[in-house]
């Protein structure tokens, strides 16, 4: 599984990253999150030179969920140079996620 980030490590791991970072907001009790989680990890592994995938557990890090206005999970936000450049909601098959992220996976 991809690395988990917390409120304390978010700035260093996500906002200050030199590579784009895809943040997967999820929770244990969310069935669709658990189904899509390994697919997102796989996209991260296959494109490790282009993007980094990290996880935020919204149960443990409610401040981060609130800060980024999360009201539904699974939710994915792609950060580049400290800013959100792509916003996705809901569990989708691998090819659909890759399509959404095409500009960053090239």
């Amino acid at each position: 599984m991809s690395k988990s980030v917390t409120t304390a490590t978010f700035e260093a791991e996500v906002l200050n990253s030199t590579k784009p970072v895809l943040v997967d907001f999820w929770a244990e009790w969310c069935g669709p999150c658990r189904a899509v989680s390994p697919i997102v990890d796989q996209i991260g592994e296959e494109n490790a030179d282009k993007i980094t995938v990290v996880k935020v557990n919204v149960d443990e890090e409610p401040e981060l969920a609130m800060k980024f206005g999360i009201t539904g999970i699974p939710a994915f936000k792609l950060f580049e140079n400290g800013k959100v450049v792509k916003d996705m909601v809901g569990a989708k098959p691998k090819f659909a996620l890759e399509q959404d992220l095409a500009d960053w996976l090239k």
């Binding site: 929770a27 009790w29 969310c30 069935g31 669709p32 999150c33 189904a35 899509v36 697919i39 919204v58 149960d59 969920a65 206005g69 999360i70 009201t71 539904g72 999970i73 939710a75 909601v89 809901g90 569990a91 989708k92 098959p93 691998k94 090819f95």
Partner: protein, 306 residues
């Protein structure tokens, strides 16, 4: 070449797998990549599935069914079927990963997909206040006003579940009475956190970037009113998921897969359908399971004769 491929992993699909596997047909079940288990994965307590007197969680029921199907040799693939060719004696099923499988029989149990209200901004606000999954998203509406739209059992269940989080739950229904079961209605009406708004439909969604208000239209006199809510949960039923087969199999007027009488036989020999994708009336976990059993027995009989 396989004997039988089952498309879908709800109660119909898993039951078809249990029966065909026990008959020695070594079924391949293609479960979907991100929605294995189907609708029941988004529910909480299931209290009406026989054999579980204390009830059990929807996801646990589905995991039990999968374990039972695998115990008898069902092969399970966590991928999506993207294309089928059902016309010949040998059926071809293609997946999202680009694999093509051949089988002598196919059981279609693709279930139903949640219905949308059809409003402007509904998609845009999905995940920003508009949701189809209370168990996934209720958590984000602690101490907030929430609305649920619908009048069936699933709307009642969502409203009850959401009272754990919301400061107030409005239940909006376009008629003056619910079609939900009596037990569920009684629970909803007795819950002090739930306020029922009859004869009303959602006309507009407002707020940016997140929902903060909906406009209601009275279905009797057409009058409009505002309701401040941060969450809107839509539970107005579902439509059969037929896009995969709609150009190959005969459908009913309501776009369910058409089957022959009480059987699971579709308009193409060797292709069987089961569960919510053929059921315009009952749509319960137990009726879907029964329907999956019918499809398995029909497929078994077909394979014996071929």
């Amino acid at each position: 070449m396989r004997n039988v491929i089952i498309i879908g992993s709800g109660p119909a699909g898993w039951t078809a797998a249990i029966y065909t596997a026990r008959a020695g047909l070594k079924p391949l079940l293609i479960a979907s990549s991100v929605e294995p288990g189907g609708e029941l994965m988004k529910t909480t307590e299931v209290e009406n599935f026989p054999g579980f007197p204390d009830g059990l969680l929807g996801p646990d029921l589905m995991m039990n069914m999968q374990a039972q199907a695998e115990r008898f040799g069902t092969e399970v693939l966590m991928d999506d079927v993207v294309e089928v060719d059902l016309s010949g004696d040998i059926k071809i099923v293609k997946t999202g990963a680009g694999e093509a499988f051949e089988a002598r029989a196919v059981i279609v149990s693709t279930g139903a997909a949640y219905r949308e209200l059809g409003l402007d901004r509904e998609r845009e606000l999905s995940g920003h206040g508009v949701s189809w999954c209370a168990t996934c998203d209720g958590f984000f509406f602690r101490e907030k006003a929430i609305a649920v739209v619908g009048g069936g059992d699933s709307a009642m269940e969502e409203a009850m579940f959401l009272t754990k989080f919301g400061s107030k739950v409005y239940l909006i229904h376009r008629r003056d009475s619910f079609k939900a079961s009596k037990t569920m209605q009684e629970r909803v009406l007795a819950n002090p956190k739930i306020e029922v708004v009859y004869n009303s439909e959602v006309a507009e969604l407002h707020g940016a970037p997140n929902l903060d208000k909906i406009k209601l239209r009275n279905t009797v006199d057409g009058s409009l009113s505002d309701l401040a809510v941060e969450g809107l949960f839509i539970a107005i039923g579902s439509d059969p998921r037929v896009w995969l087969v709609e150009n190959q199999l005969e459908l009913t007027e309501d776009r369910f897969i058409k089957v022959d009488g009480r059987s699971s036989r579709t308009s193409i020999p060797g292709v069987f359908a089961a569960g919510d994708v053929i059921d315009a009336t009952y749509r319960q976990a137990i009726t879907a399971a029964g329907s999956g059993c019918v499809a398995a027995l029909d497929a078994e009989k077909y394979l014996e004769g071929h």
